[in-house]
């Protein structure tokens, strides 16, 4: 890379904060933080980079002038959908199927994305209002069948009338096109796009066969509608960000994170707004994977507990699971997207008692950051999990967020006593301990469910704890799940930005075709050939050749009479030979049984291949992170006090040592029960747990 341009800068725009991380060979990692500034997110991005620059004693301009690569993730698309701030969108679809996207495969769109509590109350459930009005959906006389044969030719005159109707009458500025079976034969969709480009060149046009070339017309249509709806906003946002960065002295490329965990150059990302959905949490998982590899422990359960939600994802042997039925706001879409499961349990989650039973409940309502927990003193008068943390001794009112905010313990105590402890007939401490246990148990149940769902055993995993609140609960659920060890990473507060910097350029390609098992390798290679060609050309265009290019194939297989498809990686390179293909089939059978249980495979009806995937990576050069030398185990110099905290093994409050993270040195060992305060979070070690600060300033927690 160019000399004088030694920094990699990554900025992630989240719902509340915009985080930056700066990397350079041989220098410590630097962090920056600023508030997000919707809807003009670019302002917050510059603020955040400026904050990182300041910590290095540099101006924003000086930092950017020395930056070789800028990586970026943003909630701009999520935000456009959630706030209904997208384009006036029209949809052209196969005649006779105009309602597909509106009726959401029946009840699926009514209950999809709801918690079980709400599903059990159907009278109060509705679909989200569609992103495209019924009046702006026009049926086109055309038809392709299940094997891709065109049964009915497109009538271009009718298409032209339809487009003019949408543009002139409904003033749409974006048109999505989704025809039945277009993923097998996109010819009719492509003709429509050519026609729109000719007669309405200002209209943003996007095809389902480009954006989501997979079976299932409802999900494919919903996807392309979202892509059309958010397309203009995404394009405008990325181009204004590039302009701003250029005006501030940066002239390198801007790389944008995708929900599948890879980067794309900004001009490519601009045409696939759908890919940016939930790219922040995806980056977080990539960050966790990178950390797992750095620490040589590739099996990771990554957990993140912020103000409103608890998120969890699973990385096995460096492999990340994709979500089967991703949603944004309550819209289904189909894209490769890293699975991140969440429940409404965070520091701001409100504690309530169930009428009738008095059983304590955590969330799903949240006090958010305003008014926030009672102890913030910002007017919140409903007790939250953060208040509970304080009442059981885990938070120090004086040094919250490095002392930048003082917490009101007395008020939290009063409110908690009145609303929770007294009705339960318990002391404040006993009630707070009880609520804390309920929260920890629910998290344990969630993690157990999603690991079991994949046929995995939590005991084989290392647990990463990210986010402001996770370090205060991980000692509980980590112990109950019996994970191998736990890590509270140094970058815990800017994990998504860390993920950006750990990511590669990734292009995902897929071809749908139904091939029986066995089929000659030749037939499979024929499907991969055009994808390989496209991928190599694309990466070459982006400057990746030779050993900077990695091409991984995978095949989706299923048993012919069953609905579950399993994406099975091809171990060797593509094209493959007959033996390698047989290996893929054998791997599929093993994966299937592991995931769906013993005896779940119905082999008698045979197997079939349904989808052929190619992941093309342009491997980024990135500096090695330097580990600091580790010293002695004695953590005594970092001990700053002693106070009672809740200790599970003792079933009560026990006076325990308090440590200041900033004073700990690599190699120091803290024995639980103890509390370590960092500037952004608190780490609680339960009895028997030992926390060691490693050379990267991660706290590694082992069980006795």
């Amino acid at each position: 890379m160019t000399t004088g341009r030694k920094y990699l800068v990554a900025t992630d725009v989240g719902g509340t904060c915009t985080d930056t991380i700066v990397f350079a060979s041989g220098e410590p990692v630097r962090l920056g933080k600023a508030l997000s500034t919707p809807p003009d997110f670019a302002t917050g991005v510059l603020d955040s980079i400026r904050s990182a620059a300041a910590s290095m004693g540099l101006t924003l301009e000086a930092l950017l002038a020395q930056t070789s690569l800028f990586m970026h993730g943003s909630t701009v698309v999520d935000n456009a959908v959630l706030t209904r701030d997208g384009s006036r969108t029209g949809l052209l679809t196969t005649e006779g199927f105009e309602d597909t996207v509106l009726v959401t495969r029946g009840a699926y769109g009514r209950w999809g994305g709801l918690t079980e509590d709400r599903i059990k109350h159907p009278v109060k459930t509705d679909r989200a209002p569609a992103l495209v009005d019924a009046a702006r959906i026009v049926g086109i006389a055309e038809r392709v069948d299940y094997k891709g044969a065109v049964l009915r030719e497109l009538d271009e005159a009718q298409v032209e009338r339809a487009v003019r109707h949408l543009v002139d009458r409904h003033r749409v500025d974006a048109i999505a096109v989704s025809f039945l079976w277009s993923f097998y034969n996109p010819v009719n969709e492509q003709k429509v796009k050519a026609l729109i480009n000719r007669i309405a060149p200002d209209v943003y046009c996007t095809l389902s066969s480009d954006i989501a070339p997979v079976p299932g017309e409802y999900e494919r249509s919903s996807t392309v509608v979202i892509n059309a709806y958010a397309g203009r906003i995404t394009r405008a946002y990325l181009s204004s960000l590039e302009t701003l960065l250029a005006a501030t002295g940066y002239d390198g490329p801007v790389m944008v994170m995708q929900g599948y965990g890879g980067l794309l150059p900004a001009h490519e990302a601009a045409d696939r707004s759908i890919g940016m959905l939930e790219c922040g949490p995806a980056a977080g998982v990539i960050g966790s994977r990178a950390l797992g590899q750095l620490l040589d422990q590739p099996d990771v359960i990554a957990t993140d507990m912020g103000g409103t939600t608890f998120k969890v994802s699973v990385i096995q042997g460096g492999t990340i699971e994709y979500a089967r039925e991703p949603m944004v706001d309550r819209f289904h879409y189909t894209q490769p997207k890293i699975e991140v499961v969440s429940i409404g349990s965070g520091g701001g989650s409100i504690i309530s008692l169930e009428p009738g039973s008095n059983a304590p409940r955590v969330g799903p309502r949240s006090a958010g950051s305003r008014p926030g927990p009672v102890c913030y003193g910002l007017g919140g008068d409903e007790p939250t999990l953060t208040d509970v943390f304080m009442l059981i001794g885990y938070m120090d009112p004086e040094i919250f967020l490095g002392g930048s905010m003082r917490l009101d313990r007395e008020r939290a105590r009063q409110v908690f006593e009145q609303k929770i402890a007294r009705p339960l007939g318990l002391s404040v401490e006993a009630a707070a301990i009880g609520v804390y246990r309920v929260a920890a148990a629910q998290i344990t149940d969630l993690i157990r469910q999603i690991t079991v769902e994949r046929g995995l055993d939590p005991r084989d995993f290392v647990l990463h704890a990210f986010g402001g609140s996770c370090g205060m609960v991980a000692g509980m659920f980590g112990a109950e799940l019996n994970v191998r060890r736990m890590v509270v990473p140094y970058t815990a507060s800017v994990n998504c930005a860390f993920g950006l910097i750990s990511a590669d350029i990734v292009h995902e390609y897929a071809t749908t075709a139904l091939l029986p098992v066995p089929s000659p390798a030749e037939a499979v290679n024929r499907l991969f050939a055009p994808m390989l060609e496209k991928a190599r050309a694309q990466l070459a265009l982006e400057g990746f050749t030779g050993d900077r290019v990695r091409l991984d194939g995978a095949v989706d297989l299923r048993y012919s009479r069953q609905v579950h498809e399993v994406t099975t990686p091809i171990r060797g390179s593509v094209p493959l030979d007959d033996a390698a293909l047989a290996g893929v089939v054998a791997d599929f059978e093993a994966l299937y049984e592991r995931k769906y249980g013993k005896g779940s495979a119905y082999r008698e009806a045979g197997m079939e291949m349904t989808q052929f995937r190619l992941t093309a990576r342009g491997l980024m050069e990135r500096p090695e992170i330097a580990a600091e030398a580790t010293g002695g185990a004695d953590a005594a110099p970092a001990r700053v006090g002693r106070r009672p905290i809740f200790v599970e093994a003792e079933d009560g409050m026990v006076p325990s040592d308090i440590y200041d993270f900033e004073k700990l040195r690599p190699g120091n060992v803290v024995a639980g029960p103890a509390v370590i305060h960092t500037p952004i979070t608190t780490i609680v070690l339960q009895a028997g747990q030992r926390g060691t600060l490693d050379g990267y300033r991660n706290v590694i927690i082992d069980f006795a």
């Binding site: 005649e95 006779g96 199927f97 105009e98 309602d99 009726v103 495969r105 029946g106 009840a107 699926y108 009514r110 209950w111 079980e116 599903i119 059990k120 109350h121 159907p122 009278v123 109060k124 509705d126 679909r127 019924a134 009046a135 069948d145 299940y146 049964l151 009915r152 039945l180 079976p215 299932g216 017309e217 409802y218 999900e219 008692l353 009738g356 039973s357 059983a359 409940r361 339960l424 009880g434 609520v435 246990r437 309920v438 148990a441 149940d445 157990r448 048993y559 012919s560 009479r561 069953q562 609905v563 579950h564 995931k595 769906y596 249980g597 005896g599 779940s600 119905y602 008698e604 009806a605």
Partner: protein, 601 residues
């Protein structure tokens, strides 16, 4: 028991059911289980009483409880750790033969502590017609294999002779085996997880929590009932099979904290398989009761205690052996669902506090069409048209019904994509969409149902066959509430095509040339260029249609939900040059109201 431990145990119990449901779907891998969610998993206490009902087809929750109790009675002294029982006899506890219950005792430290039970609609049960619904059946003996209880696994050992015997009696034995295996895996998971809970907290505490969970549900439902007014509410459903008409008549009486569902006045049992047994009726009334009255209460034995049913023996809702019942789940049971939904809706509407929970009847008519035949790859395909799960929402106090929004008794169903069906069966869809004017008119409009048409496509045998056990073509069943109109009816039309290519892309039933034959009961072919047209019912409306804001009526016309004729005649909206005319509308509405009085005089 302290509320905190209670809260944790309850959450765990709930997760046990969730995990077991997941196992069932994973192992089975069938479309009806995974797409239609035609399944149920629940936990029961040692005495067979319902402990934790999962979200599935809810009319099974009480029936599976009775199935547990029947097993306890029949196998007294022979229930061992590691056993697994099968029961599918409708006269013992099941709904119909194709919904098989597999029931497993759960032991902890050698003592029976609980039961788990689950069902799926199996691939086939050996009835006269493939797929389980048997319109040609004349009695229970022609509806396939049925057992009042047998031991399938003895102390962990599969009884191979029994297993082989069952599979010897069904079509597609491998697929039925897979269904059974998925239910075995499901019970295993439920058992393992429940035992882990006992290990962590001890038998006494878990048992206490279970007892408390049931008491609490009972207490909360009784409190709710006390808040509702005392009174009686009636509803009536008509069913028709081959020209014979049947009634399901319900009087629901509520006094204090008790609720009685009285089906006195319902028709004698039918010779056709639309009947249901008493356990099925009980399940049928609870299916809407759980989500309508107990949306925030755990579904268990406690909810069952304050409720009583009176169902005359020998009637269509309590038929006597050997009457056929294979179509019950979409026959008499669904009418019981509808009648109970209607009376509960009216009771809620009579309460200041609970009026917002009231609803007209949702999706009153499953059309349950099973297609079977050789598919385009030469294999055998049997399967339900999953559009039957995509009913219409009834209008609610809080808003319109949801168009093609599902149903109450099975809260999380969905229908398959057209592309999925065209890949599985040798058929081609001509259209699938909302059905205009199907939602019952009202101040709040009922959700629309849908319509679809299919033809054979690339079929090696020239086509396939299908079983239709539909009712609902003669009488509307999605009743309106408080002046709302009922939702529209179902139709099934066999189009005997003339052999011209002109209708290959017919955009509507009217476009489809040839003779149109309405059908509703039996086995029919889909061959050559013939078509099958199905339209399915809308949800009931709520309130006076003349009170619906005119702009909303106009929106409905624009969105294709209602016709201009309905807007004018039923909703009293007037258009001038295609645009809403508020003055004329007001006049027309006044006139329509006045005519309601004149016609009487």
């Amino acid at each position: 028991m302290d509320p905190i431990t209670f809260s944790i145990i309850r959450h765990r119990l709930f997760r046990v059911v969730e995990e077991a449901v997941m196992t069932l779907k994973h192992v089975s891998g069938s479309a009806i289980t995974n797409e239609g969610h035609d399944l149920m998993v629940s936990l029961y206490r040692a005495d067979g009483s319902l402990l934790m009902g999962g979200v599935g087809f809810l009319h099974h929750l009480t029936s599976a409880a009775e199935a547990c109790k029947a097993i306890i009675r029949r196998f007294d002294g022979q229930i061992h750790e590691g056993d697994l029982f099968l029961l599918n006899d409708p006269y013992t506890a099941a709904l119909h033969t194709s919904d098989i219950y597999l029931i497993a005792p759960i032991h902890y430290q050698g003592r029976l502590v609980a039961w788990s039970a689950c069902f799926v609609h199996v691939f086939d049960i050996g009835a006269m017609n493939p797929g389980g619904f048997a319109p040609d059946a004349v009695d229970i003996f022609t509806e396939g294999f049925s057992s009042p209880g047998l031991k399938l696994i003895d102390r962990g050992e599969m009884r191979q002779d029994v297993w082989d015997t069952i599979l010897n009696m069904v079509r597609g034995p491998e697929m039925v085996a897979l269904d059974l295996r998925s239910m075995i895996a499901c019970n295993n998971v439920a058992g393992e997880r429940l035992i882990a809970l006992f290990e962590k907290y001890g038998a006494e505490i878990v048992d206490d929590a279970c007892r408390m969970l049931i008491e609490q549900s009972e207490q909360r439902l009784r409190e709710r009932l006390r808040e509702l007014p005392d009174g009686q509410w009636q509803s009536r459903q008509y069913l028709e099979v081959k020209g014979e008409t049947y009634r399901v008549v319900l009087t629901m009486r509520k006094q204090g904290d008790e609720l009685v569902f009285d089906f006195t006045g319902s028709s004698p049992q039918s010779k056709y398989s639309v009947n249901c047994s008493k356990w099925a009726s009980l399940g049928g009334l609870f299916a809407p009761l759980f989500p309508l009255l107990c949306y925030d209460i755990t579904w268990n034995e406690g909810v069952i205690r304050p409720v009583r049913m009176i169902a005359p023996e020998g009637s269509i809702v309590n038929c006597a052996r050997p009457a056929p019942v294979s179509v019950a789940t979409v026959g008499a049971i669904q009418s019981v669902n509808n009648a109970a939904c209607a009376t509960i809706g009216k009771m809620l509407a009579a309460s200041e506090r609970y009026a917002e929970e009231s609803t007209a009847v949702w999706h009153a008519n499953h059309f349950a069409i099973f297609m079977f035949g050789t598919n385009q790859r030469g294999g055998l395909s049997i399967g339900i048209l999953t559009e039957t799960f995509a009913g219409a929402g009834g209008a609610r106090h809080v808003g319109d019904g949801v168009d093609i929004g599902g149903e109450i008794p099975n809260p999380i169903s969905r229908m398959a994509n057209v592309e999925t069906i065209e890949a599985t069966f040798p058929v081609r869809y001509l259209f699938r969409r909302r059905l205009k004017d199907s939602g019952g008119p009202g101040r709040h409009r009922g959700g629309t149902g849908g319509e679809m048409m299919i033809v054979a496509h690339d079929a090696p045998d020239g086509g396939i066959d299908y079983v239709v056990s539909g009712k609902g073509t003669k009488f509307p069943q999605s009743d309106g509430l408080a002046g709302g109109y009922p939702g529209a009816l179902n139709d099934y039309v066999w189009i005997h095509a003339d052999e011209s290519d002109a209708t290959a892309f017919a955009g509507s039933l009217a476009d489809m040339k040839g003779r149109h034959e309405p059908i509703s009961w039996g086995v029919y072919p889909l061959r050559g260029k013939d078509g099958l047209y199905v339209r399915w019912n809308g949800g009931g409306g709520l309130g006076d249609p003349l009170d619906r804001p005119a702009e909303q009526v106009v929106n409905d016309v624009t969105a294709g939900a209602i016709s201009t004729r309905a807007a004018e005649e039923v909703y009293g909206v007037a258009f001038k040059d295609g645009v809403l005319d508020p003055t004329l509308t007001e006049a027309r509405r006044r006139d329509l109201k006045a005519r309601r009085l004149q016609e009487v005089a």
